[in-house]
Symmetry: C2
Subunit: 104 residues, 2 copies
DNA sequence: TGTATATTTAGACAAATATCGAAATAAAAG
DNA sequence: CTTTTATTTCGATATTTGTCTAAATATACA
């Protein structure tokens, strides 16, 4: 319960971080491997990792010198559930074409 | 195809804007009505409206002096679809407990 | 212990963002 | 045409964000 989604949506707002998540979906990777795939510096990536960790979107595991990052899909699902809730609150009847409720 | 989701996720990153979307889900409202529900100034709200419009998350309709805002649920659905794609790319079998990738 | 490799932290800086009050625009009403 | 009401645009400002280089920490290994 009590999912503080602010950090999750903040984390998802950056394209680099979304790309990291997508990459991690295909399998856990070390920080260095991820860094080698992006055109930004390792400290910058580390900064993004911190934001993803703060949002609980990724988990880390030390393996020798390496730190392995892996995806936490549960939080991603919760974020989706919250989006679902926005456009159909507590009900499954989503009316895609939101007709004009003429109330004054 | 070709959904430029950057502005959508940026728009969803702000709690005020998510609250606006949630409010609009319950029915279209004029700018003034929405503004009266939030503790920030009307120019600030107008700024948020612009961001939501740029992301195509809301539509507007002039009605006399008022401007009526309504939700565009389709774009919200597309954002969810993209989240879905992050944690299970092109497949529907979502494994909630992402154990250490025994897939290739 | 000392050196190499992997990753993070510290500090700085430019760009983006959220906010405001004041002024501008648009439509309605007198 | 002037005033009133609704909303946006303008200009300013403080905070947050993404990025960098340099330095620090942590582990492995000779």
């Amino acid at each position: 319960m009590s999912s503080p989604q602010q950090p999750v949506f903040k984390a998802l707002a950056d394209p680099t971080r979304r790309a990291i998540l997508k990459r991690l979906q295909e399998g856990s990777e070390t920080a260095g491997e991820i860094a080698s795939e992006f055109p930004i510096s390792k400290p910058s990536l580390s900064h993004h990792f911190n934001i993803l960790k703060a949002a609980d979107l990724v988990r880390t595991e030390r393996r020798g010198q390496h730190i392995v990052y892996s995806l936490n899909a549960t939080v991603l699902q919760e974020a989706m559930a919250m989006l679902l809730d926005i456009f159909s609150p507590g009900d499954s009847s989503q009316d895609q074409d939101n007709e004009e409720s003429e109330r004054e």
